[in-house]
């Protein structure tokens, strides 16, 4: 399995912070800044080991991507899915469907520590 982490996040600064945290842990990072591009990427590219998905995206929402592609396509069955949202209620609603829910504001250290715990699984 690849060491690829796909970060789907429209805010440039947050995307760069998340990327830094994941690179620090040792992932190869790929950034996608909007919903439609994310849809293309998910449907066509290599399935990543980890998907960090923002629920609020331009054009196609993270929720739609999750329900219509990630949860349906067998290729993502083994991917670790982390969703990020500022809405705690919304986050609670998805706890059963994804591996982790992170409520914004997301701490660099928190994300780094969480993903570093996941990393060994990738090497097994």
């Amino acid at each position: 399995m690849s060491q690829l982490a796909l970060i789907i996040e429209d805010d440039e600064d947050l995307a760069s912070i998340f990327a830094e945290a994941l690179r620090g842990v040792g992932f190869d990072v790929e950034l996608v800044p909007d919903g439609r591009m994310a849809q293309d990427r998910l449907n066509n590219g290599v399935p990543p080991f980890l998907i960090l998905l923002d629920m609020h995206l331009p054009h196609i929402s993270g929720a739609d991507l999750l329900t219509n592609i990630i949860k349906k396509d067998e290729r993502f069955a083994k991917s670790v899915v982390i969703i990020t949202t500022a809405d705690a209620r919304m986050g609670e609603a998805y706890t059963e469907q994804v591996d982790f829910v992170m409520i914004k504001p997301i701490s660099f250290v928190q994300l780094r520590d969480l993903t570093s715990r996941l990393k060994p699984r990738a090497q097994q």
């Binding site: 600064d13 947050l14 912070i17 914004k104 660099f108």
Partner: protein, 572 residues
Amino acid sequence: MKAYLNQLLNVPGSDPDDARRRRLLNILLLGLLVIDVTALIVIVVDSAIRPGADPVENQVTSFGIGLVLVGILVIYQINRRYSGRWAALVFLLLLTIVLAITDSPINLTEGRSLFLFTIPIVMASLILAPAASFLFTALSAGILAYLSLSIERTVNLFGILGFFMLALVSWLSARSLEQALKELRIINANLDQVVIDRTRELAESLDRERIEAGRNQAILNSIADGVVVFDTNWNAILANPALRAMLEIPTELIVNKNFRDLIEHPRLSPRSRPLLYAMMEHDTQPPSFRIEWDEKTLSISAAQVYDNSKARHTNIGTVTVFRDFTREAEVEKLKSTFVAIVSHELRTPLNAILGYAEMFKESVYGPMNDKQVNMAERIMKNTQRLLGLINDLLDQAQMEAGKLTIQMALVRPAELLENLHGVMDQIAHERGLRLTSEIDDHLPDMLNGDGARLQQILVNLVNNAVKFTDQGTVHVRLFCPDENKWGMEVSDTGSGIPEDELPYIFDTFRQVEGGETRVHGGFGLGLSIVKQLVSLMSGEIKVNSKIGVGTTFTITLPLIVPAENPEKWRNL
């Protein structure tokens, strides 16, 4: 015939007693007339069929009968036109004289005709005056004495004494009869007065009621709120023009209809129906609630009408007031959308600042010296504070818009404390304080509640306690006083709250002695939010504080153990 007879016998007059006596005299005269005429007929027939009749005797008798006839007519005229008293007096005198010559003196004084004298005596008390019986007794006694002396016999004293006894009895009975009639007339007159008074009172109160009803109608017509009055069966009795205008439906669809018809009206949003049905069920309702009618938002408040006039306080219906809340609702929605967008927009860059500061602190791009790390920490701390304020503002705005709701789910009380320690231990430690906690053994491991909101309450209270305590301990206790309640208690060893400030600590945007805001940070929204959350959860919060000793906040909440009755909480 009867009417004619009555007209003949009655004598109109203002004194009812006099009229009665005159009528009585007329009846007597009529009776005498009948006897007189009968006697005349008998004599005429007698002289015609009896050959041996004495014509002279018959002539004398006929003459007597004719005299009586004339007397009757004269007395009748006097009685009718002039005076009842005089007529009666003349009648009685004539009667006495006639009776005194109808038989031989010996028969009149001592024999069969003695009783004849009693006739005028009894009559006098009835047709002249009650006491007149004595007058005629005296007259009869005089005649009796004269007759006795004229035939040289002793006066019949027993007879005279009997007359007086009879006079006494007639006087008494006539008198009591008159008395009784007089009393009856007084009672009648009083009764009439009562009827008149009552009629007038009734008319006045009807007038008052009409004026009152007119005034109420004017009030109802002039107010902008829609008002509808229901009876106890929820049939609409009346509705004002404002309601028709608000709902844009004709009166016929409201008045004289049951409230259910209105609730089932297609223009009412189906989401609003349960609220209105709940109102009908007399369920515990908020003082006012909102419904959606087409594009409109209406605020409804209902009040029971009680009849306090009876000893028992009876419900006689409900007054329901509809207010067009559309504009306010739009403004509120705009405001909460605005606040939500602004806070989201604020949070994203703050998250970036926080992230970059952490990267500095973690020396992601090369080693940092202590001062640089310290600076990064300060940036982080201030950013956290700013984020906290934005969260408070967002909560407050949602609460004002009525959007913040409590969502019940399974909550593990121990987890609340674990999370609390996770968030607050570090902060307490930095201020040189100890954060301790305990859980009551009786408290169930799992209960129904809104975990996120309960956590928020605990964090807010502990954060507050840490802020205002310079040394010592902040202690958190989860307790369970009985099977229906559980609670959370946060106590500190801080400076305490002055007594005169206690009533205001839950107000929005307030902190004890305004100046301290700068020292401790925060808007003073924390406690206000806690209080509002607690009341949304149907609980209550109490504060106990002593200057220099510390402050204790105690929250009591309804205890619902899972699976017991989850339905009850679904819509809260």
